[in-house]
Symmetry: C2
Subunit: 402 residues, 2 copies
């Protein structure tokens, strides 16, 4: 049976979902969103930065940077250049001028020549160190500080922190990498790479509606996300609405290594009890459809909770009031030389209007009790304030410098 | 101007090439080849393994493995399972049985559920150690031995060697990774990962003909390849035609780090002199079209060679008689912690019927004199005998065990 037909036979393919689901709103998250056009161009300018509520593209290139200047005017200068350059690249244009002189390096590094915009989005954030180094601590949001340490954290400096970040997402990895490379090049001497991560998620198939992507444990990841097409949901959960950060949001990045070989030797029942969902359908245990509501109190005939209290879904869900917008990507980077196993996992990325009120309580519950902790370990962590959107003529971060 | 239009304006877009080129045969290499069907399924069974002359897919997951058993019957057993499993995966099927028992681990790791075949090819090879460990040295081809050391080699054990290799290529990275992961899992206890590399090349755009991909120096890479649609060319350059290796070929893999930041500060004229080609068009210096013949003796009005003698193209071309089939992918893996630069480059892969007669003379010329050596360094190296194709009912490597 083909992988597609397995799903269809159960009546739980994409079409089945569209018919069977009760809450149509939640489905919209996973169909093409209005801002991903058929031209492959996602507008750069707007009230919010793209790449946050944008329907996820297939590839991510993430870079965390160290600021190596303390001169605010230099920083404003490269933020202005980044603005113009990012806008050009998201339109599929070569940056700078066409190479005219053989005596100069070309403005554009060229590896994306001939490729279209590929739905490129470039999303910029600033970390706690940005405010320290530029003597802007009066502007540093209270929300923006290093996370507390959680149980089982095994953070490594080489995957953590950063004064600035660039999240480039595109349907072509070469377009995503090209964007980061050229932006870093523009700020040369003022920023330095701290860590980078290339990552992917299942490609949207041309002939079907998008489905919720599966992570490398084979489970759907992102089902419980708030509805990105709903302005009120995004205002409730994602967008900051006061001060210089109005229209911005906070980003948490965690590099979560997944012990896939161990997982692969685990019985299906144990896997499902760990997630609290069925593997095939993504439905909460005891329910039929992926988007059926999570009822953590539902019991079987023997009075046992259907969704185990220590499952990932039960703990992440909590009382269901606090939500974060997850936009994670899988990585498969090579070998974990310590164990000889695949170094594979998830670059967890979430957006929220308050880290202290949304991310931290959820992650505290997970870190303390999540059954999934037997199969994963957090190797990296960073927080960034994602800048407000830029209007044409403006530049990234300008409200910060008023 | 859009990246596409830059090319069109010069009359050198894909369409321009098709019209302007004199040698139509060479173009076929870069258009969809007959074995990549619109169903997204590349047949696994055949006289030759797929993934060698197959039109390159967008993603590669490469794994080099150590054999941890010396028992030939165990090896034959997993080669038989690999055969069946690889065939199923290339058809977009889940492997093994659908999960029926909650008490057992599922046969298929599941992350490719719902994804189509994505033109997956899985290509298998065996390294020198395979013959040593299985006491099969009488069958070890003379061609299959570690490469001599070349000038400027900076090989690291962690990127070199291996007793077996799996090259999974697909238009979806999750499908490629899924293939390697499940094959390694099947041979658990008999093989161990030695090194792996995820890589990509520019995505073929849906609305245009494929073009020769650009490497991370922004130059087209693969222009000089022999014509994969020509049986005689493939017999001349790629396929072994006697002994147990009939229908097989030899694979050389080199992990070539590229100093992209240094390159990006280099004048266009210097870049072009280094490659011996124009960056925009890919044409040999002094010519107009990508596929114009390379004439290393052509001179300008002052009597200087148009294509510098120490350029990559001049040295790789030599007298033009020896060719290898290159099928390389770019990688961008993170940071080179020694320098704080991008760790990016090329996973160079070539196929040839004779390593000693084809690869080694070319690489010796390049290693000794190539101007490109200022910008690259070879970090890894491996050689494999790619097994003959498998007929239905047969299994990988069976001619080796007769």
């Amino acid at each position: 049976m083909s992988r597609r037909n397995v799903l269809k036979a159960g009546g739980i393919g994409a079409a089945g979902l569209l018919i069977g689901a009760s809450g149509a709103g939640s489905l919209l998250t996973f169909t093409a969103s209005a801002d991903k056009s058929s031209t492959g161009i996602v507008p750069f300018y707007g009230s919010y930065q793209a790449g946050i509520t944008t329907d996820p593209q297939n590839h991510l290139y993430f870079a965390s940077l160290i600021l190596t200047t303390m001169d605010t005017s230099e920083v404003k200068q490269f933020l202005k250049e980044w603005t113009k350059t990012a806008a050009m690249m998201t339109e599929g244009k070569s940056i700078g001028k066409a190479a005219e002189s053989l005596l100069l390096p070309p403005d554009d590094t060229g590896e994306a020549s001939g490729l279209d915009a590929s739905n490129l989005t470039v999303t910029f954030g600033v970390g706690p160190g940005f405010f320290q180094k530029l003597n802007l601590t009066s502007k540093q949001p209270k929300e923006l500080k290093e996370l507390p340490s959680f149980s089982f954290d095994a953070l490594e400096e080489k995957w953590s922190g950063g004064d600035l970040c660039i999240q480039a997402c595109a349907d072509d990895p070469q377009v995503a990498f090209h964007a980061v490379r050229n932006l870093v090049r523009i700020a040369r001497g003022k920023v330095q790479l701290k860590w980078t991560q290339a990552a992917f998620q299942r490609t949207k198939q041309a002939d079907t509606k998008s489905e919720t992507p599966r992570n490398l444990f084979g489970f759907k990841d992102g089902t419980g996300n708030p509805d990105t097409s709903s302005h009120s949901a995004m205002n409730n959960h994602v967008w900051v609405q006061n001060g210089w950060m109005t229209g911005g949001t906070y980003m948490v990045v965690r590099r979560v290594q997944m012990f896939i070989e161990v997982w692969d030797r685990t019985a299906l029942g144990e896997q499902e009890a760990t997630f609290g969902r069925h593997r095939d359908t993504g439905a909460p245990i005891g329910s039929e459809n992926e988007f059926d509501p999570v009822d953590v109190n539902k019991k079987d005939v023997n009075g046992n909770k259907l969704i185990p209290a220590n499952s990932h879904t039960a703990l992440a869900h909590g009382d269901g009031k606090k939500k974060i917008l997850r936009r994670s990507y899988s990585y498969a980077d090579g070998l974990d030389t310590k164990t000889g196993s695949f170094d594979a996992g998830l670059l967890f990325i979430s957006f929220q209007k308050s880290i202290s009120d949304q991310f931290i309580p959820i992650q505290t519950r997970l870190a303390n009790n999540d059954k999934l902790n037997e199969y994963t370990i957090h190797r990296g962590s960073a927080v960034f304030a994602c800048l407000p959107g830029v209007k044409k003529g403006g530049y990234l971060g300008e409200t910060l410098f008023y």
